[in-house]
Symmetry: C2
Subunit: 183 residues, 2 copies
DNA sequence: AATAATGCTGAACAAGATGTATGGTATTGT
DNA sequence: ACAATACCATACATCTTGTTCAGCATTATT
């Protein structure tokens, strides 16, 4: 990819994230984004068809990073799945999300909550084989499989939202424990 | 309240609900609403300051109706809390929501999901004294009270969403049971 | 039945947002 | 050095929002 393209793409992402921390998704205009990114109007639309596509791309980017360990690149520093037991997977996940400061919270606000949940469910479904067994002891046999996955994903998102909205006072271990206790 | 006011207010609500069943909240414009309601532009803004206030008023209206039994008017036909056991309360709630066809689903889509959840939590908190004990056996003591209420509300909303998105094939009793089994 | 009050209409309006088009300039990869 | 292409600035048509106002219709009051 052209270096210029990468630069503007990152500028847009940074501007978008910066605005999300001060405002909400639906209040942000394309005009504000291009002003913060300091780019031309036409340039923005050359990169993203619309504001919603930008949001989608940002979600994709974040999840690709958080779940990167599950695709290639198995020699990187610390992988989310280099865990001795499956419980620490979610602790790592919470730690990752905490480290992202409030970028995630902004994505969890009404507007984009559905999108976020959708992405998370998709990723979670990919881990179903290896990780879902952790929760199987809780699952009543009459509950459909997809209902159960929906429930786990929704519980995770809700836990995360509660955590951040309350100032992330708990440690990742604690909040992961909350998650396990409630799911 | 003036008869004219009631008429236009209902016309706006009906138009809004009608549009919500064909489109999504953020795609709907005030222009579409006043066209569907067949009223003047100024009239709309005389009733609702903005589109978001309309949404809020609609939520209020729906919840007031669903939870009406808990406030006055205790001689009406069937009350949501005229139940022998607390379990049937939620069955009734699901039945109510089912009867509302898809109006609720439209309110559960991304945009308004947060608002809906907020309202439901508020109502749920009002029932905390009488109904929360049903779930107390599941609650781990180390979980904070407000975390637990958040969890129940989110689980309810998620259950409802899954139900409607899958065509409400299950009976209210069944889906209430799903809810109890997962919370 | 007459009157005052209040709500609705319809049209016009400014302000602002969206998405597109274009000709010119600067940067990139080869 | 050269061709390709990404960027810029501006302008533009279109749509949306929220406000204003004069005139008409309905309501409640007496």
């Amino acid at each position: 990819m052209d270096r210029r393209q990468r630069k503007t793409r990152n500028a847009i992402f940074d501007a978008f994230i910066g605005l999300l921390s001060k405002s909400t998704y639906d209040k942000i205009t394309v005009g504000q984004i291009i002003a913060a990114a300091d780019i031309g109007r036409a340039t923005f639309y050359a990169h993203f068809e619309t504001k919603e596509y930008l949001l989608k791309a940002l979600c994709q980017e974040l999840f690709d990073h958080i779940f990167e360990a599950d695709r290639g690149d198995h020699n990187a520093h610390t992988h989310i799945f280099d865990c001795d037991n499956t419980a620490t997977v979610f602790t790592h996940l919470f730690r990752h999300l905490q480290h992202n400061d409030n970028h995630i919270l902004d994505l969890l606000s009404c507007q984009s909550n559905g999108l976020f949940l959708e992405y998370f469910k998709k990723e979670l479904a990919r881990l179903a084989q290896s990780q879902l067994s952790v929760f199987s002891h809780r699952k009543a046999p009459e509950l459909p499989e997809d209902f159960w996955i929906d429930h786990i994903a929704a519980t995770f998102v809700q836990t995360l939202r509660w955590w951040i909205e309350n100032g992330t006072k708990e440690s990742p271990e604690e909040i992961a424990n909350y998650f396990f206790l409630s799911v």
